[in-house]
Amino acid sequence: MSEDIWILGIHMTKFGKHPDKDTLDLASEAVMGALADGGVTMKDIGVMGAGNLMGGAGGIGQMLQKQVGQTGIPVYNVANACATGATALRVAAMAVKAGEVDCGLAVGVEKLAGAGLLAGGSRADDAKTWTPKGRQGAVAPLDGRVGTDTMPGVFAQIGMEYGHRYGGTSFELFARISEKNHSHSTLNPLASYQKKMSLEEIMNDVMIAYPNTRPMCSANCDGAAAAVVVSDSKLKKLSAEQRRRAVKISASILTTDPWEDACQVLPNVNTLTRNAARQAYEQASVGPEDLDLVELHDCFATAELVHYDNLMLCEEGGAVDFFNSGAPWRDGKTPVNVSGGLESKGHPISATGIANIWEVCTHLRGEGGARQIEGAKVGLAHVIGLGNACGVHILEKAA
């Protein structure tokens, strides 16, 4: 049995528009914030996991070191779509767990404010002559001709499929999920949007891909998040205050899709999430009923619904009843996305898989201010990177 791993320091920048800060400014702010929060410096860090998908230039970790501290440690630049941040954290945690280092750093950053559709946002012109290309011998771009490549459309189909299988879904139900997250964000000063939206406003907003209207889609924004992880033996040597605020990583899991019929036709975000959740609950020796709060990957309102079920917050097929019972509201049985979620807090892709852990840690430390979930002791953070990768972390308050 290897020793426990702890989050010693963690930081999330304000999410939103940062026209006067570039990718490195945001990442530096997150890293220096996490180091200060943990009471350590770059000198203590033995390994770094770093993620940035849209910045263009490679080697985000090395570029960042050149701003915040070059000590010659290994950097792992990782990419796993929207699960990039969680992947960076897992790299640092695995290195600590393996005993190679006793302190590691993970960071994710993105500049996305003002971006439109990320996938399916542009389509190449048809060629002058039809020539078969690629693995399906396509003579022309397929987006819009053979289904949709857009994320709002893909995740709309995922939510609609759940409704077809179990019943009870409607345009209004999905909009109500979004209403919850926009309402939650009013208490989060770091959220991109902190504006309550009525059901009517949400349903009457611009339709992107039925049933997802604009406020039911994740908000493109700028932001970064970083975390410092340490081994149990290192933590024991630190101050009482550092030990008090440390958050235990009770489970750290990353999964991909096991093959199933149709999984290469429409992404199946269910099976790998269910597998990750099952492994995480087992590793942490906790059950869904023990969770005081959950930050899950609501990249679209239609996605949040299916993950109630995938994370086993409800019985199989019971996600609609779970939502209608009021359970995922902040005063409900299992508060979900009290940060405002991706729909309102925002979704700077590579930052998201650490930002959701920051949110959970903030509550476990009792530092959530107006949005504090009182007495929170155990929380779960989940991300999905389409392709697919699923990260699930279970976090526990220091005893």
Partner: protein, 131 residues
């Protein structure tokens, strides 16, 4: 009709246009497009099988915002054809949640999408409501 080409290589044109899948000889898993190996059983032998023309709609969305050049709104969906899932547009139906319904019966249809500089017409496919 010689100067036609299918949009994708798993669409077979002719008197009775249809789709074909690559089926793993070892475990029967089906795929569209070129394969290196079977993702389910790692086998490397495949045969080509014909996919029936009729199926049911398992899920859909009505895409209202898409890349410039993509006509919207359109219906994107997944059709279950006798146990094989096919990604396609649902066509010849009003793109409205009142008209497109889960489980609706659909049939393969083909249509031209344009003629290139060499005079070759590309043929695409979609699924349309039956009856």
């Amino acid at each position: 009709m010689a100067d036609q080409i299918p949009l994708v290589d798993y669409l077979v044109l002719g008197d009775s246009p249809h789709l074909v899948a690559r089926e793993c000889e070892q475990c029967g898993s089906r795929y569209f497009g070129r394969r290196n190996a079977c993702a389910a059983c790692f086998g490397t032998e495949f045969k080509t099988v014909r996919i029936p023309d009729e199926g049911t709609l398992e899920t859909f969305t009505i895409v209202a915002q898409a890349a410039p050049g993509v006509p919207v709104p359109f219906v994107s969906g997944v059709v279950d054809v006798d146990g094989t899932a096919v990604r396609a547009n649902v066509v010849n139906v009003e793109p409205s949640p009142d008209k497109v319904t889960m489980g609706m019966k659909l049939r393969l249809t083909t249509f031209p999408i344009g003629v290139d500089e060499a005079g070759v017409e590309a043929i695409s496919f979609g699924y349309e409501p039956v009856g």
